[in-house]
Amino acid sequence: MIASLLDPIAPVLLIPLVAAGVLMLVPSYRLGARINIAASLLALLAALSLFATGPSTGQLLLVDELNIVFIALNNFIGFTTAVFSASYIAHEVETDRLTPRLLRFYHAMFQALLCTMNLALVANNIGLMWVAVELATLTTIMLVGIYATEQALEAAWKYFILGSVGIALALFGTILIYVAARPVIGEGLDAMAWTVLITRAQNFDPRLLNLAFVFLLLGYGTKAGLTPVHAWLPDAHAEGPTPISAVLSGLLLNVALYAILRFKMLVAANQNAWAPGTLMITMGLSSLVFAAFMLYRRRDIKRLFAYSSIEHMGIATFAFGLGGPLANFGGLLHMTMHSLTKSAIFFAVGHVAQAKGTQRIAEIRGLTVTHPVLGWGLVLGVVAIAGLPPLGLFMSEFLIISTTFAREPWLAVPLVGGLLIALGALILRLGEIAFGEPEGPSVPVHASYVPLFAHMALVLVAGIYLPRPMVAWFEHVAGLLG
């Protein structure tokens, strides 16, 4: 334990953990917000330092090529969200939607959430990862219900029930993996460690792996918001505080998908098991198409983008299911870009909802007129999320679509159809929200645009130029994913 404290990985876990404890005790929400930002920044620096120290493998914790960028991404978005949260929360207190006491809880939970997500990412143990995801779920449930309106409670309850069931299924899958591993590896922690499992997976009982993967896919898929186990996601996004929506879409979904990826690698390493791809392709495509249709009838702006998250998780899942270097590369890029973009969109949407005093799409009109910076920021975000260049999602979608069509032409039909349908809905709403004659009340917002535009700048740069090391990383990992 002492050794693991000195581990370079430890700070990314300990900083948020300690911060959560401290924040529980800080009465002033302004100070809390500042501590929140500072702690997130520290965690970000700690995460970045991992690049310097490089991969390391412990019995419980692990930094390798696959998770290092996710850790960095996690803490980066955690940091920017904390910045955004500070300006967002102030408005919520002013309008009496939250009390300072609740904010204390909120900030603590925020850091706890970051801690658990970091833990899920660095865990080298399938059990530990499961615990982390479970804890992350519980903290977000708390946060989703924080407004304690009828809708928020309903959303949180739904999230709790469905999330718990999902997590139960994932646990069963985890147990099955252990059962499969034990005859090969022997009892003990080794039979649950990624680093060991992956090297020996070819000797596991393939049918047990199949069964386990079904549970894991449905279980973690629930967290990732894949259809048909997505139901908690839209309401949880819509009814919770917007910074939490940003973190949910930007991070938690990624963490869950990351878990699925790990298990996919495991199952794929066994030649006799079912190709996990088929299942992932099916779920990915159904998520994409379903969410695309669902976008049309949305009346709440945050729910709209929540469905868009389902759509994009579907695309990434599909890409990983398809496999191959190009598709995997596209999938990884897609996850990263989606995280950045979607959280940026939620930053914008949060301020929009505050500016217009409503989340109802029908009451938000002509934003580029009344709030030019916010409006154009949102336009940029939606353009990005719709997969249009010069932004990063275009590159990933380009890779995924073109390689799909070259390899499995028939799969491209639902893929392209779903993308088009989703594009239709997003652009339709964007046109109404951002353009046309402004309507309804609108107050000026004192927003911090830095997080929003920082994200968009990153996405823009990534759409044009990917740095060499990042590419090397993606390529390496894409190769690993098989």
């Binding site: 029930i161 048909p228 669902m294 890779l399 032409p409 353009f435 046309g436």
Partner: protein, 689 residues
Amino acid sequence: MRRAGRTSPSARSLALVRVAMPALFLAGVAGFLVLGILGLALARHAGGRPVVYGASAALSAILCLVAAYDLIAAVGPSHELVLPLGLPWIGAHFRIDALSAAFLVVVNLGAGAASLFGLGDGRHEEAPERVLPFYPLFLAGMNLVVLAADAFTFLFAWELMSLASWALVLAHHRAAGNVRAGYVYLMMAGFGTLMLVLAFGLLAGHAGTYEFGMMRVSAPGALVAGAVLGLALLGAGSKAGLVPLHVWLPLAHPAAPSHVSALMSGVMTKVAVYGFVRIVFDLLGPPDWWWSMVVLALGGITAVLGVLYALMQHDLKRLLAYHTVENIGIIFAGLGLALAFKANAMPAAAALALTGALFHVLNHMLFKSLLFFGSGAVLSATGERDMERLGGLIGAMPLTAFAFLAGSLAISALPPLNGFVSEWLIFQAILLSPALPQWGLKLMVPAIGAMLALSAALAAACFVKAFGVTFLGRGRSGAAGRAREADRFSLAAMLALVGLCVLCGILPGFVIDALAPVAQPLVGGHMPAQAGIQWLSIVPVEESRSSYNGLLVFLFIAVAAWLSAVAVHRWASRAVRRGPAWDCGFPDASPATEYTAGSFAQPIRRVFGTLVFRARESVDMPAPGDMRPARFEVQLRDLIWELVYVPISDAVGAIATRLNFVQFLTIQRYLALVFVSLVGLLVALAVAP
């Protein structure tokens, strides 16, 4: 012509040019991007307009000249410039060959003219902050598409172009219908891009070789090639405006500021044509003959339907947008012919058809930009696009009227202007079709010829209407009466284009020669060199077959007109008396009795409308003594919209509504969903072998 085989200093400098060329253009693109940022910074500043448009005009002019030099000096394909951008393991490839150079001329010529027009007309812009940042971006995007030499960069630029123009379409987003126009536009653009992504995906194959150079050498199978053709038609066609993918054009083009409309109609659709030519003629390898059937059929239908739609319009800019559809049809008909000849190893004929099509690309850019400028000047002067409220503008705006008239003549394919030359070349190619071995083509091509002729005649009819109703006669509303002549920059842009229209019309040989290096690599042949032919005639194949001399025809007409005028004035009466119009003796007719756009189109509507538009006329004539005004109503239906787009939109809407219940299930039901999917998968596992 370049002489090979010896390393003369000029050859060495040529090699240097080949290296420098892409970098030069990329620098230009970078310049546009800088201008975009400048536009953003200076958006609300009074100096923003002159700076952005002035610099854009200068930059475009330079790029245009460089591209023209590249083409005329036959520099040959440039070296491929690879930047470490875009797809990481491939990079961004840029290359300029003759085809790119030709389209760079078109793009930057149009861009220069539009910038010049914007320099003047932009002062009427009420929302410059929504135009200035995106305008240079749009220019950059169009240039980049033509420069790109790998699939990712191509599509990136393609969408950049769409996106920038989408933002420009939404510049006047408060006007009714413009948000919808932007929506339809971006949807069609997204559709087209996805289709092109698929096409490139097929061309790149499993390994993902997205460089054009690699695609060029790999030969796809017949099925794949056919699919690529179809996808390219859908992708490039939706951008170019092929029927039935044209629906966005008449919505989006009028919505944008006029000089942007000109760019979108005149230039951007040409970039789409470039995309089609690049994919189908260059990357795809040898064509199958049946491809040409598809392209020809689409081209012919597009030409006729485009002009018929145009005839039914009374919004001036929308009318022009539909004419773009028509001209795209003509261009695609030419391309289809070129494909047919290429598939049958008839390079001379293929070169003729391709040259005709490419010449028409240039011509259409010239006169369509000109016409949009004219309509823009009218819009700025009167605030009206509705022809039914215009009229008699020739008095207040004589130079604009003259320019619009020249554009109208050109687009109506009337000699001696440029539109006629390119259509004449395409007709000459059609006349070579009997040599094609396939019966399908033999029988089809004459029909396409008839359709092109029909569309040309209808276009003339339509522009008699457009020019006549807008500029001639008497003003139909107060707005028409208050009009003033356009400013000098706008006029300079228009008159420069008039000059180019005339030049291309009377000296087509130079253009044809310049296009020779374009055709050579694409179809394996080129038209005979025209420079040496006496009297600057043009000869498509051989002189005994056919020839045309625009210069002489122009001179003959000029001389004949001059002679008759001199003779009449010398020997006959010169007296002129002004008086009220006679009008068969009806006195003092009000402008309301004038023929309107709607009534002018009525005979043609009677002929074609019942079939194409399901036109229904209803007359409500009150009985004698009844003081009610009589009413005459025409109902037109857009069958393509109703049969293609409405069902799709309805289906999506219906499915969305049906599916929407999933949002409102109880937690039990959601759990049941989880449960059912779990049990389903488990059962699958249980029964699986």
